[in-house]
């Protein structure tokens, strides 16, 4: 039994949204610590998240079976990695204003993409339930 949302990408979109929200928190924290001496910027690896999501969708073909999906593991969100690829300034901090703002904008776009797709999925479901488009 797949349930009403089985066979729809809504579960996967939900995880994308959670990811975007967590990442937004970290990026906001980086910006807040723009002038904190010694602060190392934190980020979530979007490539790793998407690989895990794709793997889970391919293996289970049912994103709702969260008990077995690897991408629901909490450790994906618990491990804010320290960005080491950036230049360290003289005060030991490595937060670059431009990079952080750009990542925020990209993350916002990912969030918007997930929300828009989800809305159209719900519109399809509503059309099926009410039998009118």
């Amino acid at each position: 039994m797949q349930g009403i949302f089985g066979g729809t990408p809504i579960a996967a979109l939900e995880h994308t949204l959670t990811f975007a929200q967590r990442r937004h928190e970290l990026l906001a924290g980086n910006l807040a610590n723009l002038d904190t001496p010694g602060y190392q910027s934190r980020d979530l690896d979007i490539g790793e998240f998407q690989n895990a999501l794709a793997e889970s969708i391919n293996s289970a073909n049912r994103p709702m079976s969260s008990a077995t999906s690897p991408y629901t593991r909490d450790d994906l969100f618990d491990g804010p990695r320290k960005a080491t690829e950036q230049v360290v300034f003289h005060d030991g901090s490595d937060v670059s204003l431009e990079h952080q703002v750009t990542e925020l904008a990209k993350n916002q776009h990912l969030h918007g993409l997930a929300i828009t797709t989800m809305r159209s999925q719900f519109a399809l479901l509503r059309a099926a339930i009410t039998e009118k488009a």
Binding site: E98, T102, A105, K106, H109, G112, T116
Partner: protein, 139 residues
């Protein structure tokens, strides 16, 4: 498409580095000694940009700061025999070496990098609008 944002960001970082160098040049236009306190007039810093192909997927290149060079122009000599840092002997006896910084050039550089920064912010705004428009196809 979001790759364009990375390219614009690289330009923002590069232009900000340039503006920082110009600020330093103008701030030090009367610095007669170096950081160790020895008489050595400040030399203008020039930021050299270089294309950066590491971020391109579609043939477009970003930009990075290749190096920061010191201007090798001779210092300006002013005759101030009573100055504590006046040169004691040789051709320039009684003169004080001042940094050879042209304020007009520096101000134009500052304006140029500011405008370049604004232009790149404008491009980023356009990129974001494009992807936002793409999303409206779905809705």
């Amino acid at each position: 498409m979001l790759n364009a944002l990375d390219i614009s960001t690289s330009a923002l970082v590069a232009q900000r580095t340039r503006l920082n160098a110009v600020s330093g040049n103008i701030a030090n236009m009367s610095s007669l000694t170096d950081e160790t306190g020895k008489p050595n007039p400040y030399k203008a810093r020039e930021v050299v940009f270089q294309t950066d192909d590491t971020m391109s997927l579609s043939g477009a290149s970003g930009v990075k700061v290749a190096e920061i060079k010191s201007d090798n122009a001779d210092p300006l000599y002013r005759y101030q025999p009573n100055h504590p840092l006046a040169i004691k002997e040789g051709e320039w006896e009684g003169y004080v070496a001042y940094p050879n910084i042209d304020l007009t050039t520096q101000m134009v550089d500052a304006l140029e990098s500011t405008r370049a920064y604004e232009a790149n912010v404008g491009v980023m705004e356009i990129t974001k609008n494009l992807s936002r428009e793409t999303l409206t196809i779905l809705a």
